[in-house]
């Protein structure tokens, strides 16, 4: 299935596998992109075809939604926020790991970020696209979504700036556009590389235009690096604010189970948790398919797994604190909400969530599990399911039984809820398949810089010690 000859490789715990040169890094990353269309590997066509099928389901659901109305969803009163908002929060959370890798790890000078930041940023953007469409589709009249924006209009109206729902619009709008900008700026030097390597006229034109005429001069790099650092410094607080703002959609409301000050940090941790799970879900097949095991090494998988474990345990702390606060508040509605969550009609979802987000991540304490791509892949999928269940429990289960028993209700999702949700995977994976075919999935310029630093300065003083202690395992 791999593009490469399928030669045996040796797994390594170094950030960059041994024996790399600048030219080798270029070749291993850029040659799959520059392949002739006819030589596109078969696995790509199969994956892309399946993605397109799901995308068709997504578009069908949207057409049905717009022509019929949101009555096709399971939403009701009292559960006015059903799967569209659950899926919105789920998707946007996934994006957060990408920004964290590209921005926070850059600021903390973590050299291992360089080979995984590109596709993680792509993941961010595509997840934000999937997420951002949900609230718009959920509006009822999606074609007038621009009423949310403050613009001069003949109605003399302005959006309600005191509402967290409007804060959301600004947070997600800023997040989406800054993420695209950050990604594009990172791509410029690599597109210049592609321009210089490309043979086909179409590729020369595409990458020649997209690289904007980049020469790689010292003055260009000087401004580039400053701008990139500033973008990272701006993106880091931005990513923290985005999920905090989404958490405030809930925390500012009075619904038991929502009105809780722990929500913003707890949501951010959950987002990073789900995001690293998705990074692993994408990285493990990607490195295998493109033969990039020397650039996306066991070190990256191991570190991502550690971050997943750490943020997962913060999320578990959030679950415990929710229970404690419900009891400590002395409010009977809060206490009932927790009782209902743990032992009520939908209790199975709560316990499934504990199983997925708490029990399933415990093996990550073991190094042998963190060194097993298959094990990490399975755990990451379980975590993704768990994080969806978490949003279901917070959003739908809290709304079913809030204050007055006379206004309690139930929530049952419909066919179209699931068609739109599964279809959104099609949108995500279609974009991702196009990305890995048309753009370099690893930032080559940054990887070369890291390789240079490793050969000259040993930026990671523990690198040699680790290489000795950690047995390099053959796969």
């Amino acid at each position: 299935m791999a593009v490469t000859t399928g030669k045996p490789f040796v797994e390594t715990n170094r950030v960059i596998g041994p024996g790399q040169t600048y030219a080798k890094i270029d070749d291993s990353v850029l040659s799959p992109v520059l392949l002739d269309v006819q030589r596109t590997p078969r696995w790509w066509w199969i994956g892309f075809g399946i993605s397109l099928a799901f995308l068709a389901m997504y578009l069908t659901s949207i057409v049905h939604l717009i022509t019929t109305g949101i009555g096709i969803f399971g939403n009701n009163i009292p559960v006015a926020w059903g799967m569209p908002i659950i899926n919105f929060v789920w998707w946007i959370g996934i994006g957060h790991a990408g920004t964290l890798i590209s921005a926070a790890l850059l600021l903390f000078r973590q050299p291992w970020r360089t080979t995984i930041n590109r596709f993680a940023e792509a993941m961010t953007i595509f997840a934000v696209v999937c997420a951002g469409l949900y609230p718009i589709l959920h509006l009822g009249r999606p074609w007038v979504f621009y009423w949310l924006l403050p613009y001069p209009n003949t109605y003399g109206l302005f959006p309600q700036f005191r509402s967290p729902l409007d804060w959301d619009l600004f947070a997600i709008g800023t997040y989406a556009s800054v993420s695209v900008l950050f990604w594009f700026i990172g791509l410029i030097p690599d597109m210049a590389s592609l321009r210089d390597r490309a043979k086909l006229p179409f590729q020369r034109l595409l990458y020649g235009v997209l690289c904007l005429g980049w020469t790689g001069s010292a003055k260009e790099w000087q401004r580039y690096q400053r701008a990139y650092l500033l973008l990272a410094a701006l993106s880091f607080p931005l990513v923290l604010s985005v999920h905090s703002t989404i958490a405030m959609d809930f925390a500012v409301a009075q619904v038991p189970g929502w009105n809780n000050t722990i929500m913003p940090p707890y949501f951010v941790a959950g987002a990073v948790f789900a995001g690293f799970a998705m990074v692993l879900i994408l990285a493990i097949p990607l490195r295998r398919a493109f033969g990039l095991e020397n650039l996306i090494t066991m070190r990256h998988l191991d570190n991502s797994a550690k971050l997943m474990l750490a943020t997962g345990m913060i999320v578990v702390y959030g679950y415990l604190l929710e229970i404690f606060i419900a009891w400590y508040s002395g409010v009977e509605f809060e206490r009932y909400m927790i009782w209902n969550r743990m032992f009520g009609d939908h209790a199975q979802f709560f316990w499934a969530l504990i199983l997925c987000n708490f029990v399933a991540i415990q093996p990550l304490w073991l190094r042998s599990v963190r060194q097993s791509p298959i094990g990490l892949f399975i755990i990451s999928i379980i975590v993704s399911v768990g994080m969806w269940l978490e949003r279901f429990v917070i959003i739908a289960v809290s709304l079913t039984k809030d204050f007055l028993p006379s206004s309690w209700g139930d929530y049952v999702s419909t066919f179209w809820d699931w068609a739109l949700y599964l279809g959104s995977f099609g949108l995500f994976s279609t974009l991702f398949f196009l990305f890995i075919r048309l753009l370099p999935s690893i930032a080559t310029a940054e990887t070369k810089e890291t390789a240079y630093h490793y050969s000259h300065h040993k930026i990671d003083p523990y690198e040699d010690i680790r290489a000795e202690v950690f047995q390099e395992v053959s796969a």
Binding site: T21, Y22, A23, D26, P150, G156, L157, F158, Q160, F161, R162, P164, D166, W167, F170, A171, G173, T174, S177, V178, L181, F182, F184, I185, I188, P189, A192, S193, R195, D196, R197, V209, L212, G213, T215, G216, S217, A218, K219, E220, W221, Q222, R223, Y224, Q225, R226, A227, Y228, L230, L231, L234, L238, S241, T245, A445, E446, K448, E449, Y452, H456
Partner: protein, 191 residues
């Protein structure tokens, strides 16, 4: 501008065209850094280096001034934040005053999130687009691409160019000087 050809054996004679400068190609970062310092110390000012990845301190080695993009970004961020405040203040107190939740019209704590996001939005776009525009991008043509083997500058080669508009530029002397720095090759670059 000197228009004589370099009197080297094997050097092609061709119709003279305006010259952008002379470029030297190096195979390693260390050779490039040593050469850059000597180019600077020799008093050349219209110079630039071309590398496949950012090389630390290369700008200083070539005697470049630090970039001022940080100050522009700071100003844009402050303006974005203030703009966000006044947009909400004006809309909520003058243009469409509406009392929500018993709060005063000038209930600024509610506006912090949008101010924060607009600060980041304007600062980030100023950083990104500012870098692109101040670097003269998008650019349809740059004479440095006429350098033979310049496609290596995005792969594994490192170039230093001394431009013909440098006051000290003299084709013969500058070429000889660059050749003394131990390059892999030295080429004339047509404009």
């Amino acid at each position: 501008m000197s228009m004589t050809t370099v009197g080297e054996p094997g050097h092609m004679t061709r119709p003279q065209r305006p010259l952008h400068g002379v470029a030297a190609q190096f195979g390693t970062v260390d050779d490039l850094m040593a050469a850059a310092e000597r180019v600077r110390d020799a008093g050349y000012t219209r110079t630039d280096a071309y590398t496949p990845f950012p090389v630390e301190d290369l700008d200083e080695a070539l005697g470049m001034k630090p970039t001022r993009i940080g100050w522009i970004v700071l100003a844009a961020g402050v303006l974005g934040g203030l703009g966000g405040f006044f947009m909400q203040w004006w809309a909520n107190t003058s243009y469409y005053p509406l009392i929500i939740g018993g709060k005063p019209l000038n209930s600024w704590p509610n506006w912090i999130v949008i101010m924060y996001e607009l600060t980041i939005l304007s600062a980030a776009f100023t950083a990104g687009l500012g870098m692109i525009l101040r670097n003269g991008l998008p650019r349809a043509y740059h004479p440095i691409f006429n350098t033979p083997g310049f496609e290596g500058a995005s792969r594994d080669k490192f170039f230093i160019a001394i431009e013909a508009r440098d006051p000290q530029f003299d084709l013969r002397r500058t070429t000889a000087f660059l050749e003394s720095l131990g390059p892999e090759r030295v080429s004339e670059v047509e404009a």
